[in-house]
Structure formats: structure tokens, C-alpha cells
Amino acid sequence: MVITSLVRQSPLEKATSIVDASQSYISVEDVRKIYHTADGDVEAVSKVGFDVASGDFVSVLGPSGCGKSTLMMMMGGLETVSSGRIVIGGEPVTAPRADFGYVFQDATLLPWKTVLDNVLFPIRLRDGSTKKYDERARELLDLVGLWEFRNKQPRQLSGGMRQRVAICRGLINDPALLLMDEPFSALDAISRDDMNAALADIWDRFHKTAIFITHSIREAVFLSDRVLVMSRRPSTICYDVRVDFPRPRRMELQETQEFNELCGFLRKKIEEGNKLS
């Protein structure tokens, strides 16, 4: 229950990694991202380095615009790195991978397809036929309580329901790594709490490595095994903390003193990160 292994980061030093580099599944090495715009170069991500062990749920927490989504895009192969490299599973990331799952801030379902077809869409693209995955789609939709909506169209669902479908879609191909970019930011507070509980449940079932981008401290602490705090742009990882609350995580955890202390602690670190840039 106690917060362990607090590692203090100085913004200019490379992170002293919590994870032993040789064991890591994900290795982010001295990554920088510069956007070349008409108004000049914008350094979104300054110098980020960390390792992630297989099976960990890692949140990247930071204020809006700090480049955390950019970091996830680079890890997922959707953006190129300006310098440095990202190695996942022993191979450098150059493009999106078949064993990744993606969940974006907008559910982005195909509006003319049913819920079931949307969940099976990645399989459709990869294999042509989806027969072998019908069972898995059913399992996933059951888990999020949407099996009876399988033949509905996205416009008939609420925002929270659409995002649940998007999560099922992200898990359909049994990915080794799940990348989620602020998936609940567009939802209202109550839906967001529901989704956090649902994701924690799913996590217990389908234990994968996950990178979860958010600007909500409570969300990050509730869901994760580890929280990386990003500073403001040009951003670095300014804090890195292990979250050792026992699993399965239940909503009641958020009432405990330890939980709120950790949240307060992280809030201070975010403020420090804001001042440093």
C-alpha cells in the first residue's frame, strides 16, 4: 500500500530508470520531437528517456499541450522521432505494428458499420474474414456490457458506450501493447469514473503492457502501476513513480488517505514541471 521507489528526476539528466534496461519491453532513448512549421521550429518533446517492463500499466501524466500525445504517437509508430529512438520488443519502432492496439481520444468508429463490425474492423483489414474472431469479439463486448448493442450503429450510442467499443476494438487482436491517448477526456465526470472502473476490470482480465496518456491525476493513479509526469513543452519526464496499490483496483481506493496523498504529491510535481520550462 505504501508508495515505494520514489525516484527524483532532475529535468536535464536522463532518467535513472526504475526498470533494468536489459529487462525492458519498451525502451525510449533520448527521444526528441521537433515540428517544422511555417512559423519556425517547435520543440514539442525535449529529451525523454525511460524503460517500461512488460505487463506494466504506465500512465504519462501532464498538462495539456505538453507533448504527451506526441510521445505516444511516436511510441506507436504514427509519428517519427526527430532524434533518439524507441525500441519495443527488441525492434526499433518505425511504423505501426500488428501487435499494437490503439485507442484514441475520439472513439472514431466507422459510422456506417455496426458495433460488432467496428470491433472486428482491425481483423477485417488484416485477414479479410473475421470468422475466427467472432468469439473474442463477443467476449470483449460482454465484458463491457455491450453485446446486446452489437447490431446498433455508433450514432445510437452514447459517448461512453462508443469509447467502450473503441477499447474492444483496441483489444481484438490480442495486442502485446495497448496505447491509449486520453481516451476518456471527452467524457463527463460520471462516465469517466465508470470508464475508469471498466478499464481496471478489463485490465485484470487481459493483462497487457499499456501506455495511457491523461491529464487527470486521479485517473492516472487509479489505473496505473507507474506514473510518468511530463513537464510543460519542451517536455521531459520530470517525475517517475511506482504505484503499488493492490489489484484489483476498486473505486473505493480513491477515498483512501494514501491515494489522495499520492495525488497531492503528483500535483505538486506537475506544478514544478510547469515552472521549469
Partner: protein, 278 residues
């Protein structure tokens, strides 16, 4: 005359009282209203037209009442009008089919290559803005006075809406959807087949619905100029003989054809959408 008038009034009156009022307990209330209300309005307009002619003393050669038009239509449909309707219908359909195919293919080509797009699209828009009807005689010069020139002209004026509408659909795909496809490692063809094409279909059909009207206009204008056969020719012929009732009868048949044509395209749209959703 008075008896005819009162009969018409009675008919108009009975039409309006015979129409059922949509009520709360009626399940199909809304869809019935969508049909009944405009039908009622049309009936009222026709009735006013019918009454106004004798009431205002308008000569039939200037503006015949609906009853006279209907009578002429019944009298001349099989012996004369149908014979001329057939070439118009066939040529309009041919022009529509060719211009739809050409339009969709061109839109596909424009959307697939940025260079092609930048080179051709401004020219397409420029051509769209030319008053193309004025070019009809030019087509006679190029293609002669046969059906080729009429169909070519009709294609010329009706394929632009298809290109522009379809291109708008292919281009306006949600960027988030495209990013999703990139994340799922979809090929260009897969993105087209699964995302761009289904997204563009409603746009394409709205362009095609416009093209139905333009393809008919193109053939009619062609018939005005070449004066051989068809409903356009019939209208010219009738106006030369001051047979206004025949003009209106021909127009009525043309309208009926236009409606059926549009309805067929709408039917094709809903069928295709259902098929693609599978």
C-alpha cells in the same frame, strides 16, 4: 360551365375533407403527413388553377386549365406523346449513365493524386461555371444532328455535378478515421474501400440526383436545336401550332419521367448503402 365549375369545387372540397387528419394514436402519423400535406397543397394549387382560367377569362391558348391538359394527354398519349417520349427517355438515361461513370472515375483520379488534382480541379470548376447551354449548337457542329450530339451535350452538362460532389465526399473523410487506418496498417486500397468510398457514397448520389435533371435538360435542349424527335421536339412543334395544351401535356410526361428517374436513383442509393454495410 357553371355546372363544371361547381363539380370542380365539389371535387376540391371533397379532396380536402377526405384527407385524414394525423392524430396522436396513429403510428404512421408522421410519414402520412409528409405525403398528405404536400399532396393537399398540390391539389389546392391545381384546383385554384382550374378555377382561375374561366374566372379570369384567360384564353386556353395562353394557359389551359388542368382539366383540358388532362383531356389532351389522355387523347394523344398513345398515338403521339409516347412515341416521342421514348427517344427522350432513352437518350437521357444513356447520358446519365455515362456521365455518372465518367464523373465518379474522374473524381477518383483527382482524389488519388495530388498532382493530378492540382492540375485538373481548377479547370473542372472553370468548366462548371461556363454557361454550357450556350454551347449546344457547337455540339451540333461537332457531332451532327443525330442522337450522338444530343447525348454528348447532355453528358457534358451533367457530369460536372457528379465529379464535384463525389470529390467532396472522397476528400472530406474525417482525419481521425484516416489516422485510425494508418494505425491499423491499412493499404491505400483498403482505406479507399472501407473508409473513403462508403463515406463518399451519399455525396456521390447527391451529385447523381442533380445529374438526372441536367441529363434530361441536355437532351431537351439538344432536341430544341436538332428538331427531329423527342419531347423537346414535340414541345417546339406544339408551340409552333399554338397547341398550348399539348405543350403542357408533353411537360407533364417529362415531369413524370423526371420523378421516376430521381426515384430510381434514390432506390439505387439505399440498396447500395445496405449492401456496403454488410
Amino acid at each position: 360551365m357553371a355546372r363544371v365549375q361547381s363539380q370542380m369545387l365539389q371535387q376540391a372540397g371533397s379532396t380536402s375533407t377526405a384527407a385524414p387528419k394525423p392524430s396522436a394514436g396513429w403510428k404512421s402519423g408522421i410519414s402520412m403527413r409528409a405525403i398528405v400535406l404536400p399532396a393537399l397543397t398540390a391539389a389546392l394549387l391545381l384546383a385554384s388553377w382550374e378555377i382561375a382560367i374561366p374566372l379570369l377569362g384567360i384564353p386556353h391558348a395562353l394557359l389551359p386549365p388542368p382539366s383540358a391538359i388532362a383531356a389532351r394527354l389522355g387523347q394523344l398519349f398513345f398515338p403521339l406523346i409516347l412515341k416521342h417520349a421514348i427517344p427522350t427517355i432513352l437518350e437521357s438515361l444513356a447520358a446519365f449513365i455515362i456521365s455518372s461513370i465518367l464523373g465518379v472515375v474522374l473524381a477518383g483520379a483527382l482524389s488519388s493524386s495530388k498532382a493530378v488534382r492540382e492540375a485538373l480541379y481548377p479547370n473542372v470548376v472553370f468548366f462548371q461555371l461556363i454557361p454550357k447551354i450556350a454551347l449546344a449548337p457547337l455540339f451540333i457542329v461537332w457531332f451532327g444532328i443525330g442522337s450522338e450530339s444530343r447525348v454528348a451535350f447532355s453528358i457534358f452538362i451533367s457530369f460536372f455535378p457528379v465529379v464535384i460532389a463525389t470529390l467532396a465526399g472522397l476528400d472530406n473523410v474525417d482525419r481521425e478515421l484516416l489516422r485510425l487506418c494508418k494505425a491499423l496498417r491499412a493499404s491505400e486500397w483498403q482505406v479507399f474501400r472501407h473508409v473513403r468510398a462508403p463515406f463518399a457514397i451519399p455525396y456521390m448520389f447527391s451529385g447523381m440526383k442533380i445529374a438526372t435533371t441536367f441529363s434530361i435538360i441536355g437532351i431537351i435542349v439538344g432536341e430544341f436545336v436538332t428538331s427531329q424527335a423527342g419531347l423537346g421536339y414535340l414541345i417546339l412543334f406544339a408551340s409552333a401550332q399554338a397547341e398550348t395544351e399539348l405543350i403542357f401535356a408533353a411537360i407533364a410526361v417529362l415531369c413524370a419521367f423526371g420523378l421516376v428517374f430521381y426515384g430510381l436513383v434514390a432506390l439505387a442509393e439505399s440498396t447500395l448503402r445496405k449492401k456496403l454495410d454488410a
